[in-house]
């Protein structure tokens, strides 16, 4: 059993598929940017960062912004008085599969101007990291943790980037990636066994409760799984706290 897992995981640990970033971004812009004041000013202010823009589903404006200066762009969109996107409704990810970049999608709304804008930020598979916007919108806290959990994108500067939906020691990978099988990588028997060997009393230590300090995050969880996954689970470093 362990051998099979090892080989499964090895393939994943060998690294992601080749990115065809350029090819995917070949699509062109459409729509008249003067219709949406924010898109127009974005093009003026960050001409190099805006990769393209489109109108989706009739009236929804989407702007693709590269990952290098995404934090700067979003800061400006929040703080500039003419934009004032004070509400970050949603942060999520989209994986198209086939080696195309995973996109982080920001849904923003300005309660002052009554405008909505969607920013999509393609993250190449080689890096899989971007900047956190937790310092701008506190609502991004759990949303970014979820993207980290399900897509494996690391948000630099997030104070407490841990898995949120899956168990902390989940060893099978990041479920919403297209290369993740619907029923998981391990057999049902192995999943059941692993589930019942979970220590339900984890997180009892005061140290672990101290959110706010950046935690060490393994960018590639999969490669960190040793040969015998179950031994690793019981000896998790989260156990060293004072249990009750």
């Amino acid at each position: 059993m362990a051998d099979q897992q090892k080989s499964d995981l090895d393939l994943v640990a060998d690294g992601p598929l080749e990115s065809v970033g350029e090819q995917a971004l070949n699509e062109t812009s459409s729509g008249d940017p003067s219709l949406h004041p924010s898109v127009e000013s974005l093009l003026e202010r960050f001409p190099d960062e805006v990769q393209r823009y489109q109108i989706a589903a009739g009236d929804q404006w989407v702007v693709w912004v590269g990952p290098d200066r995404i934090h700067e762009v979003l800061t400006w969109l929040k703080d500039d008085e003419a934009q004032a996107y004070d509400m970050m409704s949603d942060v999520t990810g989209v994986d198209y599969g086939g080696g195309r970049p995973v996109e982080v999608v920001y849904q923003m709304f300005s309660t002052i101007h009554g405008r909505a804008l969607r920013i999509r930020c393609p993250i190449p598979l080689e890096s899989m990291e971007t900047d956190s916007v937790y310092d701008l919108w506190k609502s991004a806290d759990w949303l970014e943790r979820e993207v980290y959990d399900l897509f494996g994108i690391t948000f630099n500067g997030h104070p407490d980037l841990r898995r949120i939906l899956m168990p902390d020691d989940y060893a099978e990978g990041h479920p919403l990636r297209k290369d993740f099988p619907l029923r998981g990588r391990f057999s049902r028997a192995e999943q059941t066994r692993l589930a019942l060997t979970q220590d339900v009393e984890r997180f009892y230590s005061t140290e672990d409760l101290k959110a706010g300090e950046p935690q060490e995050v393994d960018t590639d969880e999969l490669s960190a799984v040793p040969e015998n996954a179950s031994d690793d689970l019981s000896g998790s470093d989260l156990d060293d706290g004072e249990g009750l």
Binding site: S7, D8, L11, P175, P181, L182, R183, S187, R188, A195
Partner: protein, 224 residues
């Protein structure tokens, strides 16, 4: 149930306050089994392990329209230490599995369990990476209630089946039936082969490959 024995010649002072009016006997004899089962089945304290949609129907059963109190079950025991019957209502992901197992281990004997709804019984529509495919791989189950979610009538019928089961139990044999191997505490109830068998014919990707090629799966299978 039981036998009413009229004792001839018993003193009139003793029969005066008789059980069934003046002159009737003051005691009855019965089998211990029948008496104890009667007591147990009419004062079941459920431990509601409610997680999802089924829990809402469980609440509806306890509310005024369906009124579980008619069965002596109005006392929902949120502590497993004082509960008799575990009602697992709703989906159970792997993350919750050790919690369910621990709550079952904490319940004192004699105890029964109900798997309410399709998800608890078999995983239901959620044949996915995060869900337990039936809680009977984790804990023993006495009654399965079908439905998604079952109606309150369904839950009540399930509880009545538990009552029927209790009625047929025997004190002398009870612990034989119910004894659990101490080695099983905090361990899956079902064996590895059983769990794999349960996940067929669809199974997970590892097993699918095994089935289709006849060889043990060796590589990552990518489903699109």
């Amino acid at each position: 149930m039981g036998l009413i024995d009229k004792i001839p010649g018993s003193g009139s002072t003793r029969t005066e306050g008789g059980m069934f009016g003046p002159g009737s006997p003051t005691f009855l004899t019965s089998k211990v089994d029948a008496l104890i089962n009667w007591g147990r089945m009419n004062s079941l304290w459920p431990m509601p392990f409610g997680t999802a949609c089924c829990a809402i129907e469980m609440m509806a059963s306890a509310a005024s329209n369906y009124d579980l109190a008619r069965f002596g079950m109005e006392r929902m025991s949120f502590s497993p230490r004082q509960a008799d019957v575990l009602i697992c209502a709703g989906r159970v992901p792997y993350k919750l599995a050790p919690v369910l197992r621990r709550i079952w281990d904490q319940m004192p004997q004699p105890k029964w369990s109900i798997s309410m709804g399709a998800c608890a019984s078999s995983g239901g529509v959620f044949d996915v990476y995060s869900m337990v495919q039936g809680i009977d791989t984790i804990i023993p189950v006495d009654v399965y209630i079908p439905g998604c979610p079952p109606r309150p009538e369904g839950l009540i019928y399930g509880l009545m089946m538990i009552q029927e089961k209790i009625r047929q139990e025997s004190l002398s044999k009870h612990f034989e039936h119910r004894a659990e191997d101490p080695a099983l505490v905090a361990r899956p109830r079902a064996s590895e082969q059983e769990v794999i068998g349960l996940s067929g014919p669809f199974g997970n990707s590892t097993q699918q490959e095994e089935l289709s090629t006849g060889a043990p799966a060796a590589s990552t299978s990518i489903e699109d």
